[in-house]
């Protein structure tokens, strides 16, 4: 069920400001792709373009083609909510819905998309909490508020919430940057597990994490502030971290950045 994502010549704008310039990359199904690069280089913008989340901001638009299994998600007759159901997203800060319990949080996507049957919801809740490695920790307090969990648990709750609607692709925008190393490890384990079912794209500032979890890595950079972000190099993670083609990539991953 995982799908291939293909970006060709994608440029993204906020009003007149060009955030990313001419990005082309192909993401294979059932793989983990890491996007790395300095702050403000357009990684997140590119990620958010993939499920049209950047359209939440007024005046945001893109040029170029973004396809998921050869279907252009920016075609005028494409329903944006359908795109987002197919391409889920996990955010930098855990954002469980504060008015909902753990159980309600997990099934929020299903319920708000019209699934009513209690047995179906119960089943989905347990299944996704198990796949998110969270079931054992919360099974006794499913009716407690989701905001009462620890940061790492909240983030896994948000991942559970995302995969509960059975997307094809999961986008993760620095999912571990607010978490401690142990919670980070738990999420990375989870990513390996989810790789069998989903295509995962993760933005991260943690290069060890990129090296650990991903199959392919894309390095984004900007020349100077105000310039659009560019994809400098996109290759197998092994290659990027051992023998990058571009000098810029090597400088960045070895810390000689500037």
């Amino acid at each position: 069920m995982a799908k291939r994502i293909e970006a060709s010549n994608v440029s993204s704008y906020y009003g007149n400001f060009k955030a990313i310039d001419n990005i082309s990359m192909t993401v294979e199904p059932k793989s983990i792709t890491a996007l790395i690069g300095p702050s403000g280089c357009g990684k997140s913008t590119f990620l958010r373009s993939i499920n049209r989340m950047h359209e939440v901001l007024p005046n945001a638009r893109i040029e170029g083609r973004l396809t998921i299994d050869d279907q252009n998600i920016y075609d005028p007759d494409v329903d944006v909510t359908a795109v987002r159901r197919m391409i889920g997203m996990v955010f930098q800060r855990p954002n469980p819905f504060p008015t909902m319990s753990i159980y309600e949080n997990v099934i929020a996507g299903l319920k708000l998309n019209g699934v009513r049957k209690k047995s179906l919801l119960d089943e989905a809740a347990e299944k996704t909490l198990r796949s998110a490695n969270l079931w054992d920790e919360v099974k006794d307090r499913l009716n407690r508020p989701g905001a009462g969990l620890s940061g790492g648990q909240q983030q896994r709750l948000c991942i559970a919430r995302t995969i509960a609607v059975e997307p094809q692709v999961v986008l993760m925008d620095e999912p571990c940057s607010a978490l401690d190393p142990i919670s980070t490890l738990a999420i990375e384990d989870l990513m390996f597990k989810l790789k069998d079912r989903f295509t995962i794209i993760i933005v991260t500032h943690n290069m060890q994490q990129a090296a650990r979890v991903s199959d392919k890595t894309g390095f984004f950079s900007i020349d100077k502030t105000g310039d659009p972000g560019r994809l400098i190099e996109y290759d197998d993670t092994q290659k990027i971290f051992s023998n990058p083609t571009e000098k810029k990539t090597e400088d960045y991953i070895t810390g000689r950045f500037g």
């Binding site: 499920n51 989340m53 939440v56 007024p58 909510t81 359908a82 795109v83 987002r84 159901r85 197919m86 889920g88 997203m89 996990v90 955010f91 800060r93 954002n95 819905f97 504060p98 008015t99 909902m100 319990s101 929020a108 996507g109 708000l112 998309n113 009716n143 407690r144 508020p145 948000c158 919430r161 995302t162 609607v165």
Partner: protein, 360 residues
Amino acid sequence: MSLLEREEPGVVMTPHNLRARKLHWMAEAGVALAALIVAGALILGTGVGNWVLVLFVGWVFYLIGLFAVATRVEGRRSARNRMWKSLIYSACLLAILPLASVVWTLLSKGTGRLDGDFFGSSMNNIGARDPGGGAYHAIIGTVEQVAIAALLAVPLGVLGAIYLVEYGRGKFATTVRFFVDVMTGIPSIVAGLFILAFWVLIVSPWFNNGTPRFSGFAASLALTVLMLPTIVRSTEEMLRLVPGPLREGAYALGVPQWKTIMKIVLPTALPGIVTGVMLAIARAAGETAPVLLVAGGFSAINFDPFSGNQSSLALFVYEQAGDASKFAPDRAWTAALTLVAIVLILTIAAKLLARRSRIS
């Protein structure tokens, strides 16, 4: 020499010593007492004023004295801190004082007519020499008018606020927001006059064979005009407080925008919205002028808000307070107490409901 060492000669806070002397609370109480005694002697002795002036001058002396004493004991920085703290506490006390006074006056004077007659009968056929009479008709009027006004204003106001926060862009939204702000400042009598001119004189004749007609519903309309801006503004502020990532979290699940608003944004902002709505309702329940202008006031019971004059508690208080009968002031006080009690009960009930809908 470091900054710390230089600062206050005689104060023992140096890089080598973090301890500083503290003013004992007994000393502070002593300063307060001394200030009061001095002020009392000065003012009552010379006969320039009464105890209110003594309190005020005593308070000023206390602040000055406290600053002087604390400077000697603790140094200037701590003294300044102490003085400001006292100032803020007394400001808080001063702000609570009128409220306490109102509650006390209402409770002490308003219980005189708390009897079955008051809640069970109207003022129909009650003359100036009759001790009985009640506010039943006024309570009915207030409840009906405020309920109808809330039914009209709450959905309109909340939906308007949702438009302004979630959808409104560009000139139109700015214009709407501007007029909502302007409407917040409308005096209630103007709202009453507007409904009198528009509804009572122009629209109501259509429903009443060509003759204009007062009604409780017209009062509800005027109250709606008054409640709307309050509800829109407070709801708007509450909706803006809902973090963007929550909305994005819902969008990312493929939830359409309207459902995100209904199921995620509104529930999150609900306690704040309820507070705003209750403030608006409390204000509307206390309005006299619009009811007087467009419902006309009535001394008998009228259950029908759509036809015929109605009274309301606020109007009842106004009438009874100005009445020549020696029994009227008691009725006015009890009616005022009743009005405050109704608003208080409504507020508490709404808060409880809003809290229950949140999981704990």
